[in-house]
C-alpha cells in the first residue's frame, strides 16, 4: 500500500472514490504520445515512452511492454516535462480552510503542475528556517513538489529583512513578501544587496499603496462608470521605476511578479535592453480579461493586479512574444466563499487558477503564441529563473512529465476544482486544452 500514498491519506481515499486512479506503478507505458521537447530530436514526434521504476527507459515506437506494465493511451495525448507555477498562495499554516498543502498540491497536479513555488503569506509567515522546513518536509507525500519562497521581511510586514541565508540553506528558492508589495524602498534595496550573498532571487509585486491603496478595480472608464475607487496603472508603474533604480544600484536580481500595464511592459523592455538583471511574469487572468468583466460587479473578477484595459492586454501579449515578459503565472489565490460572495467593496481580491490554467491559456493565447512557447513558459523558464534543475525528457532521466491534450474542449466545472476554495468566474465556461495526467518518478495520476 505504500505506493498508494501519493498525496497523503485523505487524497488517496478521494481519488479511489472517484473516477481518477493512482497507479502504484513499477512500469508504465505512454502509448502514441506527441512529444513537446523543443531542445531535443524527439520534439514533435509521436512515440511510446516506457518508464520503469521512475526512470524513462525507452522512447521508441510500437514498444512491446513487459507483462504488468500499465498502458496509458488517450486520444490526442501530448507530453512535456512537468509544468511549474510560481507565486501560488496556499494557507498552510494559518488559513487551512482556504487551502492546505495537500489541497494545493492536488490542485496543482490537476492543472498539470509537477512543481509550484509558494508565496510566504501564511500565518505565521514563512520567514524563518523552521517554517521553510515545514513546507519542505510536507513534500514527502506530494506528487507536486512545493518550493517555498521565503518572506523578504519579518512577518511580511515590510520592515526588517529576514534571515535569508539561513532560509536559502533550508530550501527557500527566492524571497518576496508574496502578494504584499514591498512599499519601503530601503528595505527592498537591502534585500537585493543581502540576497546576493546566497545568490537568491528577490520577487516583488509592484504596487504603490499610496497611489492605489483604496482602489477596487482598474482606474478607467469602467471604474468611473461604476463609481468604484480606481487602482491607477501608475501605482504599478511608479514602483517598477523605483525598483529598476534599486536593481541598477545594487546589481541585484529582481523578478516583477504579475505585471499588468502597457507602460510596465515598456519600462521592463527598456531596462532589459540596458542589461539589468530583471525578469517579469504576468497572471493568466490579466491576459484573458479586461476591466469590462466587472461591469456587473462580479466579485470573481476582483483580483490583484486588477483586470486592465484592452490596450494593456495587447501590450502584455506583445511583451510575452518578444521576451520582455518571461512567463505566465496562474495567480492562484484561494478565497473562501464567505469572503467572496459579498458586496463588491467588501469582497476579497483573488481568483484560483491552477486547475483552469492550461485550458484558459491555450484558449485565449493559441492564436498569439505557439503551443511550444506556452509550454516553454510553463516548464523551462520559471525553473531557469529560480535556478532549479530542469527535468529532461529522454532515456535514462527521471520521469517528470505532464500529459495533456491541447485541442480538447471541455466545460470547466466544480468537479475539476481540487482547491478548497472555488473562487473562480470560469465555472460553466468552455476551455480548450485539457490536462490528462502527471507522472513523476514512479507515481502517475490521470484525470
Amino acid at each position: 500500500m505504500q505506493n498508494f500514498n501519493l498525496f497523503g491519506d485523505s487524497v488517496v481515499s478521494m481519488y479511489f472514490c472517484g473516477k481518477n486512479h493512482i497507479a502504484p506503478i513499477m512500469m508504465v507505458l505512454l502509448r502514441n504520445v506527441v512529444i513537446h521537447a523543443p531542445d531535443s530530436d524527439l520534439h514533435g514526434r509521436t512515440q511510446d515512452i516506457f518508464i520503469k521504476n521512475g526512470i524513462i527507459q525507452q522512447v521508441t515506437t510500437a514498444f512491446d511492454p513487459p507483462e504488468g506494465t500499465q498502458i496509458v493511451e488517450k486520444q490526442g495525448m501530448h507530453v512535456s516535462i512537468g509544468w511549474m507555477d510560481v507565486g501560488v498562495l496556499a494557507g498552510d499554516p494559518g488559513f487551512e480552510h482556504r487551502e492546505d498543502l495537500d489541497s494545493v498540491a492536488q490542485a496543482a497536479a490537476a492543472g498539470g503542475f509537477t512543481a509550484i513555488a509558494l508565496y510566504p503569506n501564511t500565518k505565521p509567515t514563512i520567514d524563518s528556517k523552521s517554517s521553510v522546513l515545514y513546507i519542505k518536509n510536507k513534500n514527502h507525500n506530494l506528487l507536486t513538489t512545493i518550493y517555498p519562497i521565503g518572506a523578504l521581511s519579518v512577518g511580511c510586514q515590510g520592515k526588517d529583512i529576514t534571515e535569508m541565508m539561513d532560509m536559502r540553506q533550508a530550501g527557500a528558492v527566492a524571497f518576496a513578501d508574496g502578494h504584499q508589495s514591498v512599499q519601503n524602498a530601503g528595505l527592498l534595496m537591502r534585500s537585493l544587496q543581502y540576497a546576493k550573498a546566497c545568490n537568491a532571487l528577490i520577487i516583488n509585486v509592484p504596487h504603490d499603496e499610496t497611489i492605489g491603496g483604496h482602489g477596487q478595480m482598474h482606474e478607467g472608464i469602467v471604474s468611473t462608470s461604476l463609481g468604484l475607487a480606481g487602482l491607477p496603472s501608475m501605482a504599478e508603474e511608479l514602483m517598477i521605476q523605483r525598483d529598476l533604480h534599486l536593481v541598477d544600484y545594487t546589481d541585484g536580481r529582481l523578478h516583477f511578479a504579475g505585471i499588468s500595464t502597457a507602460r510596465s511592459v515598456e519600462l521592463i523592455r527598456a531596462a532589459k535592453h540596458k542589461g539589468l538583471k530583471i525578469t517579469a511574469s504576468v497572471s493568466i487572468m490579466n491576459l484573458c480579461f479586461t476591466d469590462a468583466a466587472l461591469s456587473h460587479f462580479d466579485t470573481h473578477y476582483k483580483i490583484m493586479p486588477p483586470l486592465r484595459s484592452e490596450s494593456d492586454v495587447d501590450a502584455l501579449i506583445r511583451g510575452l512574444k518578444d521576451g520582455t515578459i518571461d512567463f505566465i503565472m496562474s495567480g492562484h489565490k484561494p478565497v473562501e466563499i464567505e469572503k467572496k460572495n459579498l458586496e463588491f467593496p467588501y469582497a476579497d481580491f483573488g481568483v484560483i487558477g491552477l486547475e483552469s490554467f492550461f485550458g484558459l491559456a491555450n484558449l485565449y493565447l493559441h492564436k498569439k503564441l505557439t503551443i511550444h512557447q506556452i509550454i516553454r513558459m510553463m516548464t523551462v523558464v520559471p525553473r531557469e529563473i529560480l535556478g532549479l534543475e530542469i527535468p529532461v525528457l529522454k532515456e535514462g532521466e527521471v520521469a517528470n512529465l505532464t500529459l495533456f491534450n491541447p485541442t480538447e474542449k471541455y466545460v470547466f466545472e466544480k468537479k475539476h476544482i481540487y482547491s478548497k476554495s472555488k473562487n473562480t468566474p470560469l465555472i460553466g465556461k468552455m476551455l480548450k486544452g485539457k490536462v490528462l495526467g502527471v507522472l513523476k518518478k514512479e507515481h502517475l495520476i490521470l484525470f
Binding site: H214, T224, S225, G227, L228, G230, P232, L342, E343, F344
Partner: protein
C-alpha cells in the same frame, strides 16, 4: 409605451430615455395628486415595501416613505449601520430574512457600490436603489432632471453644471447619466482632486473655474462637500473650498444672466452655498424636495406593474 424596460431601478445607466420620459409623465400626474386635499391613491394596496437603510438618511428615507404611504403600500422600515452588518449577518441573509416575510419591493440604501445589483441577482423582489455608496442615486437624478424640466420646460439642450465633490458623489454620477440621456450638456466643476480622472469619458466637460462655469450654465446643481466620505484629505480645508468653490450672492450678481440653483441637500450653509443663495429666488431647492415625492411615487408605481 406604458411600462418600464426594467424590473428594478438600480441606476440611471441601466434605463432608457424612454423610461425616463415615462417616469416624468407619471410623476406629473402624481404632482397633481399630492396637491389635492386627499393625497392618497390606492395603487399599491396589498403591496409590501421594505425600506432597507444601511446608511444614515433622513430626507431620502422620508421621501420614499411618504411616496409609499401615498400609494397605499404597506411598509416596513429597517435601519442598520453598515458596520454591524459587515461584522455579523451578511446583506443577503438580512434581505432573505425580510423577504421570507413576503415583501414585494425593496428600497435600499447601502454604502457599497453595486450592493443593489448584488441583491438583484439573488432575490425576486423589485429593487429600488436609494443610493449605493459612490455609485448611483437614481431617484435623486430623476427628481433633479424633473425639476429642471418643470422649471425650464425641457432638459434637452440645457447647460447644467454640477459643482463640488464629483469623485465621491453618487448624485453626480446619476445626474450625468440622466442629463446626458435627456440631451443636456453637462460640466462638472470642483477642485481637481475631487474630479475623477476619466470623467470626460462620460461625455461631460471639466472645469476648475467656478465663475466661468456659472457664466456658462443655465442650471447650477451644487453638491454637498462630503467630508465623511474622505478618508484622505482631498482638499486642504473647508475654508479654502468655500473661498474658491463656494457659491455666494456677489458671485451670482456678477454673472451676465440669471441661473437656477439646485442642491440635493442636506446643505452645508456657508460652505458650498451661502444662505442668501440657498433661500433666494434663484433656488428651486424646495421644489426638488416636493418633486422627489412625486418621482418616487412614479418609480414605485411603474415598477410594481413589472412584478
Amino acid at each position: 409605451m406604458t411600462q418600464l424596460s426594467t424590473k428594478h431601478l438600480l441606476g440611471i445607466k441601466d434605463i432608457t430615455a424612454t423610461d425616463i420620459q415615462l417616469i416624468f409623465e407619471t410623476a406629473d400626474q402624481f404632482i397633481d395628486v399630492i396637491n389635492r386635499p386627499i393625497k392618497k391613491v390606492p395603487s399599491l394596496r396589498d403591496t409590501t415595501i421594505v425600506n432597507l437603510f444601511f446608511e444614515n438618511s433622513t430626507r431620502t428615507r422620508i421621501s420614499f416613505e411618504l411616496a409609499e404611504r401615498r400609494l397605499s403600500a404597506d411598509i416596513v422600515n429597517f435601519s442598520a449601520s453598515a458596520s454591524s452588518v459587515t461584522k455579523g449577518e451578511t446583506l443577503l441573509d438580512t434581505v432573505n430574512n425580510i423577504l421570507a416575510m413576503k415583501v414585494d419591493m425593496v428600497v435600499m440604501r447601502h454604502p457599497a457600490p453595486g450592493a443593489p445589483h448584488y441583491l438583484a441577482q439573488r432575490i425576486d423582489a423589485n429593487i429600488v436603489n436609494a443610493g449605493d455608496g459612490t455609485h448611483e442615486h437614481p431617484t435623486q437624478a430623476l427628481l433633479d432632471a424633473f425639476s429642471i424640466r418643470r422649471k425650464l420646460g425641457k432638459v434637452e439642450g440645457k447647460k447644467i453644471a454640477i459643482f463640488g465633490d464629483i469623485l465621491h458623489s453618487r448624485v453626480a454620477l446619476s445626474n450625468i447619466y440622466c442629463l446626458k440621456k435627456l440631451g443636456a450638456e453637462v460640466t462638472v466643476c470642483g477642485p481637481p482632486t475631487l474630479i475623477p480622472k476619466y470623467i470626460e469619458s462620460l461625455g461631460v466637460h471639466v472645469s476648475y473655474d467656478i465663475k466661468e462655469t456659472l457664466n456658462w450654465c443655465d442650471v447650477a446643481n451644487v453638491l454637498r462637500i462630503q467630508m465623511e466620505r474622505q478618508d484622505i484629505k482631498y482638499i486642504p480645508s473647508l475654508r479654502e473650498y468655500t473661498q474658491y468653490f463656494g457659491i455666494n450672492r456677489p458671485l451670482l450678481d456678477s454673472l451676465k444672466k440669471e441661473i437656477v440653483i439646485m442642491h440635493p441637500g442636506p446643505i452645508n450653509r456657508g460652505v458650498e452655498i451661502t444662505s442668501e443663495v440657498a433661500d433666494s429666488g434663484h433656488s428651486i431647492i424646495l421644489d426638488q424636495v416636493e418633486n422627489g415625492v412625486a418621482i418616487r411615487m412614479a418609480v414605485l408605481y411603474l415598477l410594481s406593474a413589472r412584478r
